[in-house]
């Protein structure tokens, strides 16, 4: 039983990592070209700044998600401790 949950947890983490890898690969360069064509009308400097902001945005989302995961796992450990102490009674 614990093996299945461990497997599910690692699969969820793997999917998250793959999603972030794909986003980091695709988002900055696509935002460069799209913003170059449609938003900045050929100004390459602004398009490069847009791409850099997109890449750093992905990084910030990753950091926030890892902090949230930290808090959630801490809460799960607290709940498990509570349920274990209740079982002992």
């Amino acid at each position: 039983m614990a093996d299945a949950t461990a497997q599910a947890a690692t699969r969820g983490a793997l999917i998250k990592l793959l999603f972030f890898a794909a986003t980091l690969a695709i988002l900055p360069i696509s935002s460069y070209f799209i913003s170059l064509k449609h938003i900045w009308a050929g100004n390459t400097n602004y398009a490069a700044i847009t791409a850099i902001c997109a890449a750093n945005f992905v990084l910030v989302v990753y950091i926030i998600m890892s902090v949230m995961e930290d808090r959630q796992s801490l809460k799960e450990i607290e709940e498990k401790k509570l349920s274990d102490s209740k079982k002992d009674r």
Binding site: T10, A13, P28, I29, Y32, N45, A47, A55, I63, S66
Partner: protein, 162 residues
């Protein structure tokens, strides 16, 4: 159609700038990813749930993204069939090298920081905030190189013809 100011070997320097931006920043990102990946693999044997703490790996990847953006930026303003001033070639070479070699510096720092901080995170949870702060300082080294590359590239577009 070459002259003194637009010799035929001028595109060599421009394209060397494009290549060096990508090559050197990828070298830095590779070192950062590998070194911090070793640390994360070492942590993963004790606590597999810390896999999402692979923040140094993502930051090293962003260093490579900086090099990619500068390469695309410089390559976008290269038209070898037209006249290409040698001065513009030198400027593009400088821009590419500034972004690339600062990427090596940033990637090196990220690798060492990521390795030791991820290992320390196993024992002490509060190292996390310090790790992110120090990694951000290492990341902005690559960002400074990119800003200088952008500045230089702006100069190259204002050079007149031959």
């Amino acid at each position: 159609m070459s002259s003194e100011l637009c010799p035929p070997y001028a595109p060599f320097f421009g394209f060397a700038g494009v290549a060096s931006a990508m090559i050197f920043s990828t070298m830095g990102a590779a070192f950062g990813t590998a070194k911090s990946g070793i640390g994360i693999a070492g942590v993963g044997t004790f606590k597999p749930e810390l896999i999402m703490k692979a923040i140094p790996v993502v930051m090293a990847g962003i260093i490579a993204v900086y090099g990619l953006v500068v390469s695309v930026l410089i390559a976008g303003s290269l038209h070898p069939s037209n006249d290409y001033p040698l001065a513009a070639g030198f400027i593009h070479l400088g821009a590419g090298m500034s972004c690339g070699i600062t990427g090596i510096a940033a990637g090196y720092a990220i690798g060492l920081i990521g390795d030791s901080c991820v290992r320390a995170y196993v024992h002490e949870q509060r190292v996390f905030v310090a790790m992110v702060l120090i990694l951000i300082f290492a990341e902005v080294l690559g960002l400074y190189g990119l800003i200088v590359a952008l500045l230089m590239n702006t100069r190259a577009t204002t050079i007149g013809g031959c």
